[in-house]
Symmetry: C2
Amino acid sequence: MANKKIVIVGGVGGGASAAARARRLDESAEITMYEKGPNVSFSNCSLPYHLSGLIPDADSIVMKTPEQFHKQYNINAEVNSEVIDVDAQQKTVQVKDVNTGEIRTSAYDELVLSPGANPIMPKSIKGIDKSNVFSVRNVVDIKALQAYLTDNQVSDVAVIGGGFIGLEVVENIAQTGKKLTLVEAADHVLGTIDDDFAQLVHKNLYDNGVQVILNDGLAEISDQHITLTSGKEIKAQAVVMAIGVSPDTTLAKNAGCRIGVTGGIEVNQQFETSIPDIYAVGDAIEVTNMITRQKTRLALAFPAQMEARDAVDHMYGRPVQNQGVIGSQVIHLFDLNVASTGLTEAACKQNGFDHRSVTVIPQNRVGVMPDTSPIFLKLVFSYPGGEVLGAQAIGKSGVDKQIDVIATMISMHGNISNLTHLELAYSPWFSTAKNAVNIAALVAENILNGEYQQVSISKVRGLVESGAFIIDAREPNEYAAGHITTSINIPLSQFRQRLDEIPTDKPVYIHCQSSQRSYNMVRALNNLGYTNVTNISGSFLELKQYEYFKDQTTDRKSILTNY
Amino acid sequence: MANKKIVIVGGVGGGASAAARARRLDESAEITMYEKGPNVSFSNCSLPYHLSGLIPDADSIVMKTPEQFHKQYNINAEVNSEVIDVDAQQKTVQVKDVNTGEIRTSAYDELVLSPGANPIMPKSIKGIDKSNVFSVRNVVDIKALQAYLTDNQVSDVAVIGGGFIGLEVVENIAQTGKKLTLVEAADHVLGTIDDDFAQLVHKNLYDNGVQVILNDGLAEISDQHITLTSGKEIKAQAVVMAIGVSPDTTLAKNAGCRIGVTGGIEVNQQFETSIPDIYAVGDAIEVTNMITRQKTRLALAFPAQMEARDAVDHMYGRPVQNQGVIGSQVIHLFDLNVASTGLTEAACKQNGFDHRSVTVIPQNRVGVMPDTSPIFLKLVFSYPGGEVLGAQAIGKSGVDKQIDVIATMISMHGNISNLTHLELAYSPWFSTAKNAVNIAALVAENILNGEYQQVSISKVRGLVESGAFIIDAREPNEYAAGHITTSINIPLSQFRQRLDEIPTDKPVYIHCQSSQRSYNMVRALNNLGYTNVTNISGSFLELKQYEYFKDQTTDRKSILTNY
């Protein structure tokens, strides 16, 4: 049998994984990987860290050179080589040498498309083609941006788009002392978390000197400033576009491959396109969300690598199952970490899923240990079924762990009842005895059982404005250090002696620092016959963070004192 | 209906949890918690951290005082109150005031036993009752030990028992500059990990100046030294006993409760003992291992808290399911973290479970980021079924996360195939794109599929001694910096041109730094028709650590050069 000729388009995450996997399965295959850029196999997720100098040498982001591919794996990694055409009948591709313009034809038995996605650079924005406008997709991009910032002594940078790449670029450039402005079209950054949790991120950006502009877009770019859709002018000598990516489907369309409803390349359970012997993987394809069963796109490294492996496995007759994705992600942002998995509340609403959520704020480790910090954890679950649907976590430490545990639970179709008793590794050094996920699940179980009522901190401003009866269940010294303006201080340690101060004829709302004391008071009052008592989920700890950014950046009246 | 009288014996993990849960479910219950010591509700797991001064004030380890229990929860927490007798017919307990000796009788409707476990202090050891002998069970113990070390200017401490408490005590005292000796009766510390991984812990202890003595026991304690079973004398002015705990079943036996085969109090699915209206929870009870279905005991904080909650829930007619335990644990030791869950290989053998294991050593985050460090991860799984049975992880960072993910998978009866594609949160800051658990599962899948052969690093010495053909697949500069004495250096980047050096008539063993390059070479050779090629799992990175402690502490000949 003749040696199998495998041609791979794209030499980064998916492409490089496909090539290496093919070699492991078949020593005799002729494997060629064409990459239009000058580098293969680089860690694109690491690119922003060059901007702060954390990764001083941008070339070190390249993990394997074409020479290493050749020597170690006998793989032809051809850089500066753009595949511009596919003849699916003849099973050939046309490859253009990007430097010389020379075009040659190469035959394949199996073709793997892993072209990735391109940063969206709308032509409608005036000045989008100017030399001070950048995107961050590869090593060339990041070197160009870094050189521009340095060579032109740029002092003000605007980053357009508050997704992962945008935020990482903001963080890394901000650390070099420049003045950053982040412009986001939606009402909050990071579509992977809900509005309430996003306020914590806004606060973090604000605290780190970043100007955050929401609900606004980029209209025009000049040399020294940008103009937003609102008309606002922002000083900026350099602009980084990070509003999103669009799947690179030019070649796939050209080959006749079907494109899915989301604009990504359509693939079947084996990552085959609609054209025989052409596979597609990575950021360019359309995937299925495992939870919603809706088509979607997901530009993440791990799925791309696994899709590539699966495609090659199928090429060699191995069983493969494209099970879809749940979407798990984490970002480091100054001294904060933000992680999430599965569905947000917003996504549940969008899909018409009846759901509930709980927010708990345990410490990352036992309180008596030094350097403890709170973990803000939101758990989203179906109602009334209690299936775990998603989670978001924000904190200085340990949030990736909590989210990974919940991602595992979602993948295994776990229920809240599976999380309450889940035995995780505990030592005071690493966590609390009941881990954050256990605590969240126990609260969720209460909600599923209808054991008490809760209200989100996003409703507190409305409660204050409508004159609701709000009890602060903390101790007097905590109350004195800052509280909701209209709240009444009845500590958990005193309420049994002060029941006459708690009305029975109107709704009563209770909070404390992290909802634990207020929860105990709510249960006690319910047991005492109070019928309309509600716990304020997230309590003062989340409320302070939630209100902060808007309090600082608008002229509205704060509902909190002394903070 | 009269108020329910709930009496709880023991005021720490299980006891305090039971009391708080009872109050949440029933505002009118009369809840009394008797604790024979002077404190309730302290974090016993945090005790060792007082010895290093990380927790400067031992009293801060107490999380809630009797006064707080009273004020916040209307719970009577009676300290220095030992329950010495139970009359299950009359439903009363006899309580002795530890200070005055006074005895009173207290009635109960429901009794919860949470007496914990006592440190084992064998009377057969001469001098066990001396004033320089300590155990670590409560705040009184840790204050006494700390005071003794300081007041007597102790310079040498012997810790007997290399379990979690023993190791934490060693670490914390060692940090004050004293000379520590650890004596362990088994051939390695930590029964929760296998021998090969324990060598990494031995190395860590050795590197931190701790004298580690294995396969030996304590025979006699003197003022200035101890004598071991082997006759060896060790300088030590203070001795900490940490060889294990035995469940405190005195009261349960007294009440007529059945004791299980492991010596713990027998309980049913609802944590009821064999005597009506008497529950038992925590370290004193016998539990069932969820994986082996064998009875066992597990002295850990989280299970105790959940058992207590469940017992009270059942008391109030709520559904409860005692599903057993898997055992998840983690310990911080100098600059190393050691975590594990489920079964070790040794436990699999003991239970007659056909199993396989893989060891992988990925970095904790993307290699191009600063401060990366390896995670040694062993995954244990059933053969041929591929059920995830257990895992062990050692590293400077991130091991608790990997183990918690695998613990979740075990709890959900996950298979290796569920781990390969598991979508965890990735950013270069936090992990590699394929997380450590993904990588381990992919290797495990290969083993299940019989795709190649592997051998554990514990076999390498035998291979060297028997003159086996061992290839070092690293680059020449790596080989020069240290290698297996008898190995031949044929780098992955050269082997295709040097096939004539690789014999076909005898077994060939291959390793590299972390098994990734050797794995690729093994697959290629298999594909080229070599039939007896074996990958050395764990490779040089694990081998160095595995051999180190014995190389340093015995006069055997090393099988490694230059290290």
